[in-house]
Symmetry: D2
Subunit: 393 residues, 4 copies
């Protein structure tokens, strides 16, 4: 059993070997999840075999710090190794397709960070490959970690139970402010060729995914406006054009699941909303109740039950009770968890699915559905916000 092993293997089998590709922000967060999962959840044993990155020195240091047995620089070598069962892809979006397709072909289970891919073409190919691999017992999942916020998982349960009736209106936002300074420098995230889009793909993707997750609905049409508030930013050689959006405004028609006929969701995202650091907020209005959430207070859920305004209002429910999703693994009521624990839950759900032979969710097909909405938003924005109808997926 390697130094980086966690949990106890099933009889007759060793722990599942994990390779993580990428060691930046997401690689650090995923590493913590792989380290911690078995101390809190009853999951198949895993072994943190190898962390992969392009800079040999840096990735070796990261592997030591984050608790991986080894490091490597060539992901192709790694996915060919027999001791690797799971490939966790934490690299930038434009590399997702190539790595994921190769890993699935090599028979490895794949977890890939959102967004699924930078282009719709790649996403379509990935979803097809994932479906084919599932037939072979090779599983895959896209990492929309906010599905694993206990408060949101609880909200989904409440909605599924009909607590708030049929959902008519969803008001979603994801507001950040790290680009508020017009002199903040140009980066790859601000170029269409490397990033695909801006706030749209980076953060609206989460909100759109959650609308579907929470209600089981799909988008039927999309109207959008995109805006680049700061059209040029300083680059090393002078001003460069910003070719992605700083903010996006979407309205979606919704159908299916827990939504009423004619339901509508709005999604507003920004990277210049000063004072909002990680402001993913959702307001979900149903016929019999309503639910609100704010990622900056992720241990809380605002719940309104029933229509009797003289006795009811939005109740702040602290989502730290033992019977709340994921919470029995943690601490007594009122002892809050943090953002990083959503990744622990994600790994837990992935491993549990593997263990039970059930395909994990969200699947690549789910990731593709979100990509389609974002692509339609871009098309709508190019056409003066005229709504784009989405076909059946």
């Amino acid at each position: 059993m390697s130094d980086a092993a966690s949990g106890t293997g099933s009889p007759g089998t060793g722990p599942l070997g994990v390779a993580c590709i990428g060691y930046a922000f997401m690689g650090k967060a995923h590493s913590a999840a792989w380290r911690e999962v078995s101390a809190h959840f009853d999951v198949p044993a895993t072994s943190r075999q190898v962390l992969v990155g392009r800079d040999a020195g840096q990735v070796a240091e990261a592997a030591a710090t984050y608790g991986w047995a080894e490091s490597a620089t060539d992901w192709r070598d790694v996915i060919a190794r027999d001791d690797i069962d799971i490939v966790d892809i934490c690299t930038p979006g434009q590399t997702h397709a190539e790595i994921a397709l190769a890993a699935l072909a090599a028979g490895k289970h794949v977890m890939v960070e959102k967004p699924l891919a930078n282009t719709l073409t790649e996403a379509v190919e990935m979803a097809a490959a994932a479906t084919e691999a599932t037939g072979r017992g090779v599983f895959s999942m896209v990492g929309f970690n906010y599905r694993r916020v206990p408060a949101l998982a609880h909200a989904r349960n409440l909605i599924a139970q009909g607590i708030i009736g049929q959902v008519r209106q969803i008001r979603g936002a994801y507001l950040q402010d790290w680009l508020v300074d017009a002199q903040a420098p140009m980066t790859w995230r601000l170029r269409a060729e490397s990033a695909g889009s801006g706030a749209l793909g980076d953060i609206a993707s989460h909100t759109v995914d959650l609308v579907g997750f929470l209600t089981g609905s799909t988008a039927t049409d999309v109207s959008a406006r995109l805006q680049t508030f700061v059209p040029q930013r300083p680059g090393p050689g002078g001003p460069e054009d910003v070719t992605v959006d700083d903010g996006a405004w979407l309205t979606l028609g919704l159908s299916g699941g827990a939504v009423a006929e004619r339901a509508v969701a709005s999604v507003e995202v920004s990277r210049v909303a000063l004072g909002r650091k990680n402001g993913l907020t959702l307001e979900i209005y149903g016929t019999e109740g309503a639910i609100c959430f704010d990622l900056e207070r992720l241990n809380e859920l605002q719940v309104l039950r029933g229509t009797d305004a003289s006795s009811h209002g939005f109740a702040r429910v602290l989502i730290t009770e033992e019977d709340h999703p994921y919470l029995s693994a943690w601490w007594p009521p009122g002892h809050v968890i943090g953002w990083q624990h959503t990744f622990v839950h994600q790994v837990r759900d992935f491993l549990t699915a593997l263990d039970s032979g059930t395909p994990p969710t969200p699947s690549f097909a789910d990731g593709l559905a979100t990509q389609r909405v974002l692509a339609a938003a871009q098309e709508s924005a190019r056409n003066a916000s005229a709504a784009i109808t989405l076909g059946p997926t």
Copy 2:
């Protein structure tokens, strides 16, 4: 001096005679404002001469209760009276144009409740008549009372002073829930012919007006989606079609005043947002700060100053200090005022304008500008949300 007089007239002149047309919700609120204004503000003396309504018995009772010297049933007679200097129009929107035009022609100062009119044609005619009357020293104003919320008047001052820098993004909403019950009965407010539109004209009008008021900007283009969540409601003779919107989503391009280039405002309104009773909220994001407001907590303003996140955040400023707008007239710090006091402030500003010979604001032309935005929103919604460009006003 009549029983219903307030304040002391200028030397050589009696108090200004006021007639109020309409005695329902708005008539009651305006009556309270006319009664109270001179006890708190130094304004020209007024006399509450006559309250006008169609039902002689009911209007007589309302006049007694609300403190008017007399009641009457024919507004045409009333505006012809020599003892009437001011006509305050609190009737439904489809009657605004006729009464206002006649009153201005008769040389009476006119205050008209929002919206200015139900149709753009009427609004254009009213604005023209108001301009002409102003030349004769006959003044007019449209009653967007939320401009007189001290917190919003203070916000406007802060923005004008540059405290939050240039405004890039405004996130406005006005959420109510009085139509959440699909069995709530059909009313004139739900028919296009009588109400013009639904949530759009009734409450989005306030939000759109405030965007301009707070920043001094004008809308350059509008994209909108309208939705009727409950398409039929019970009428006396069976189900009837609802022909106005229950909810509306707008995005506006903005230009001028305190907004940055490429600024965008979103406006979302609803009458089925369960749990929101009078939820007019605004979030205004600038380059150097941000401001948030919620009408359900109208004595508070959330203010973020500067971009140093390690030491700053949204500060809850209680707008009850003596140097806040309108507040020196009321109570010590922390002693909150109520919704109805916005109408007292409105009357105060109207009378102060009359006294100084300065046309009061918002003018009929200002009301028309808001109407143009709402009409464009309806046109956009009919065209799958394709944006409508607004010409210079």
Copy 3:
């Protein structure tokens, strides 16, 4: 019917004539209540006959501004007048006893601002006189206006209905900051001989009264600490000693009404709690629920129902529904009222009690009970906080 009349008299009788003694802060607030009550509530007609103050010119101006028919400088003359039925005492505490006793003796109904008196001796005498007068059909009331905050009246109803079970623990505070500046000048409010006590009598009195009002309990013992943070302040002739408390901390044993055995209330008050303007807060913890309130958000009540933490939490109930106390008189849901409306409700309740021949509450005896608690607190503080047992009242 005089200029200052409101409402319609009962058949065969004219309106009740009101005299208001005092025209400063409280006189202004009470005047507004007398002016407005009949426009919103169905009460016996009243006539605002005379406003009384020591400075003839100032009180005449105040009478004109606040809507009183006349002004006067000698309260003794006024309470002798036949056209006066009600005497509303808004003067400083040390004058309450003399005026109230004379008015009751003259057969006038009396409303007196809190505190009932500056000394326990006076309060005892007043309570006795009030009881005697009640036997003659002459009524009296002490003005703890916060009993008329709709949210608190609603809280009392919820507690009486057993919604939160038996109350074990109450956490009350009243925090202000107007003395935070050590250079704020000396005033009569900071001298024991004129003010009796400091924050204790001025604001702890409200909190103590509300504990009894909300639960129907009485205090069985009191332990207290008083503190004067700024022991000297600048007077006209140099530094003067502050001889009252700037802050007070009380714990009370409670018995009776809705409280459990061994219930305890804490009360903390201050005039140097920077950032708190009118911070009367209450947290009431029962065996089956809990209720919280903040006077700076007086239209809201936080209500927790039941003990199931996984589904419940504190719900923010907006107390603006038609079936909430006093609210049917005002505006639609979500249209908030202000601090001054508590005085309108107080006058409404006083007049309604007169009309029905039922003694109004809180009676002078109720005011005396609060005085006894405050006196015991002072005694405890003088004895190193050792608890003082309160006898049966």
Copy 4:
């Protein structure tokens, strides 16, 4: 290097061997901290050698789950081992003294969970032993982990910098509700002989420690009331007497550090405050500003700067910026941390102190100072709340 090692040892030395005594709630939380610290902070390498508990089977399972190399049942054997450098004591309070004294005598660095001990006698002995050991280079610390909440560490810095001026008034509370049900069963925590006291020692201890931590002041006198709301609870053989407090109310005179003369702190704690799960709240009022904190929202700090109420109010500062205490180790702004991370910070600070040869804080002497306050509170409560003067420590 063992399986349970973290970080890289200094040249010439191996990692520091850690033994953890106790594997229940605190043992689990401390284990997570030892596992995670080196992935986030640059600290001396440690090796999780042995987890100690009385039940061999259970502690072996816990050791495997929580990532310890071995388990053991006899702490005396363990502290004698050469491979153990640090002893982390997570057992119930009555065992702290014996283990800590033995470990210090054996030359091991000691971290002990709060409270330092169950009796003042033990605490005195421990503080003396710690002082003696420090002279030998053997260090010790008591685990008041809330000093390591970034928001509170930041608050302490702000106060030390004079941002809020001199502190006059502190309003502290720690409210929980896990004993609200009168039928909740008897446990060792509710017996004086095993638990020492109830809410007082368990949670008031945290609040009292924080008052000193935040301001650098010491308590000069204490007045207290203790209450047991539910005097009997069901035991296995029938009702048993609860011999500790369910709630406690303290006022403390303060002196020294950042507090003004005559400063006062209040502390209210409860285990029956329904709806409060982990409600450690602090309000700190100074002459130039104020700070508020709520452990249920531990990533936030409410900060009021300055005395200009017209422009300022309590600002919600999200304590997730890189320059906030401890935060550079974690995630980007707005990505919140959880309760358990306070233990990671505690271990980080302990290891950093060891590395630099500086005695860590809070020392056993600091723990003793808090114990003295709690003991005085008990004495005061026995004497009808009469204040107890605390001598110089």
